[in-house]
């Protein structure tokens, strides 16, 4: 698979797919998309990078171990539920804030935090599996 064309395009493709995955993640609240599918897109981006350039560069680029990323996502998801204790409502109640950033209203919410958690869990979990499989193959 290590043709020059593939190796040349893979980093650009990975960057594009990652950007797209974040776009899919953020539009997920009201339109098709969300953390799970976004995470899958991001994980396949890392898989492509791994196929083209080897697993070691991917692990270097990720910096954190994929499982640690998944664990951080789990923390985010639990935190999104626990925030509602401070608002005095039931576990996992959706809470919203609309701060103005540079004159634009930005909707931030606990469902978004939860979705980011799902995104990270999927990215971490699937990348860990994909990288392990690719590693085995290249030995």
């Amino acid at each position: 698979m290590r043709t020059i064309i593939f190796r040349f395009t893979a980093p650009y493709l990975t960057a594009l797919m990652l950007l797209f995955s974040i776009f899919v993640l953020l539009r997920g609240h009201n339109e098709p998309g969300g953390g799970f599918i976004g995470g899958l897109i991001a994980a396949s981006a890392f898989a492509i990078y791994g196929i083209a350039c080897g697993v070691a560069p991917v692990r270097r680029a990720l910096y954190f171990h994929p499982m640690a990323i998944a664990a951080a996502g789990l923390c985010f998801a639990v935190a999104a539920g626990i925030v509602s204790i401070f608002a005095g409502t039931g576990f996992m109640t959706g809470l919203w804030v609309f701060p103005k950033i540079f004159g634009t209203e930005v909707a931030l919410s606990t469902p978004m935090l939860f979705d980011i958690g799902v995104y990270l869990v999927v990215v971490g979990g699937i990348s860990a599996i994909a990288l392990a499989l690719e590693e085995r193959e290249s030995d």
Binding site: L74, G81, S84, I85, G88
Partner: protein, 570 residues
Amino acid sequence: MADSSDIAILKAEAMVHGAFAPSDYLVIAPVALCFLFGAVLLMLRKRVDWHPFIAIPGFALLLAADLLLLRKVASSGPQTMMMGHWKPPFGIAFTVDMLGALFVTTAGFVAFAAAIYATGSMSRTERRYGFFPFMFLMMGGVSGAFLTGDVFNLYVWFEVLLIGSFGLLVLGSKHEQLDGATKYCFLNLVATTLFLITTGYLYGLFGTLNMADIADKAGRFENDGALLTIAVLYLVAFGMKAAAFPLNFWLPASYHTPRFVVSALFAGLLTKVGVYALIRVLLMLFPQQHADLATLIAWVATLTMLVGAFGALAQSDLRRLLNYFVIAGIGTIFAGLAIGGAGGEAGSAMARAAQAATAGATGAAATGAAAAITPLLPGSSGLVIGLSGATFYALHSIVVMTALYLAAGMAARIAGTASLRSMGGLWRSQPALAALMLVFLFAVSGLPPFSGFWPKYILVRGTFQAGLPWLGAAILVTGFLMTIASARVFALAFWRNAPEAEAAGSDEAFGFQPAGKPSPVLSMLPLILLALFVVAAGIAPQWLADMTDTAARGIVDPAAYVGSVFGGGS
């Protein structure tokens, strides 16, 4: 397109109203704590030396939350929290009644003890592979299954605990472990799929998956084939999870392969989750169908008990023998579930009388006929007695089976083998361990003065009252056979002198540390903790019997449960 004010009105209609006290969060705390600690430990996966110092306080916190929850439920009845504040039956409900609270507390207790034990017995590599994170994940699933009030959510928790248990099962990646894990995974996936399909049928029939909602509606349904089909399918699915005959063969094929701590957790908790789900679904949601199936359950119980007892007699490997003890215990619990519903008309009449009695203000007066069946449970009907005995036995079994596996693990580590043929002399070298083992073996056989005696007593009395003397006889025979099997364990592994040391290295002993003696504190402390429960429940059983009686009444008459979901409880 509705504008924002319309959305606000719609939302106000769909959401639960009312103030929340922080103590309401106890309902969700066990699950949230497990996932939080599991995730933190996973992030610190490189720092395996820190793991025990985070995990043990984590499990202590879990146990504390469970105990507080139990106290709250005991003092003020079933508790409900709607996820995301959505109104029932549309939102997912977490509803804890006495039954769930008792199970979750016992599970937390056992996990705490097992975590201390694991600190002394898991190697660095296994911690590195994620023993504690997987354990937290599994405990999160177990706690969620005990706390949820939604059938589909119950399915999800089953999946979560299965994923955690798969991880624990293959820790170490030995050939035997993978072999055991394959059988375990396959059978559990079949059972889970059956569970999911049945839940689909249930939703098609009722249009709701909220347990309180179903319990409320099921009584008004005509008792036709559809409900019975669902009940039978659930019986098969949960019977497979609980390892009841004839679907018990996966358990002895897989539970002896992982580490002793892992076996202990599995044997203590996982089969009991199946039992709990069966009680919740069959007895609370479909009492009529349960009455129809009671004779079948009685037969399943009898055969499960006998298979377990005879299987235990036939084994010479300590852990395989204990596997069969688990199965015998499941049979005994099932026997309790058969009481009350069995005997056809008489049984269901009794159940209805019990419902009428507990619904009325003065329960004791109406059940005068059935009163004073046993001194432990005055004024209870057959169904309540059977269920209470089964719950008591299940709680006892969680603690004792875990304790037995942990004690066996320690014995096997000291002896360097788990085969009864080559063990021996532990009485002389480890008197404290031998004494504790004797306590647990007495308890598991149902001998006084330990915790196994009273639930068996309640169950045997209940079977005779309900006109099922053969079921009572089966319980007694099983107890006798288990006593023989226990005596064999004790006589061979502890009492006799150590046989001539075989020069051949024990390759079969793949479950043990190469490094000789375990740390005495880390191994003995959890055993002593578990023994305290066994002795306390054996010498003074009334406090536990009162609680299991409350739990059984709450299942037989789920008015309080339904009220906590739909009434002022939320």
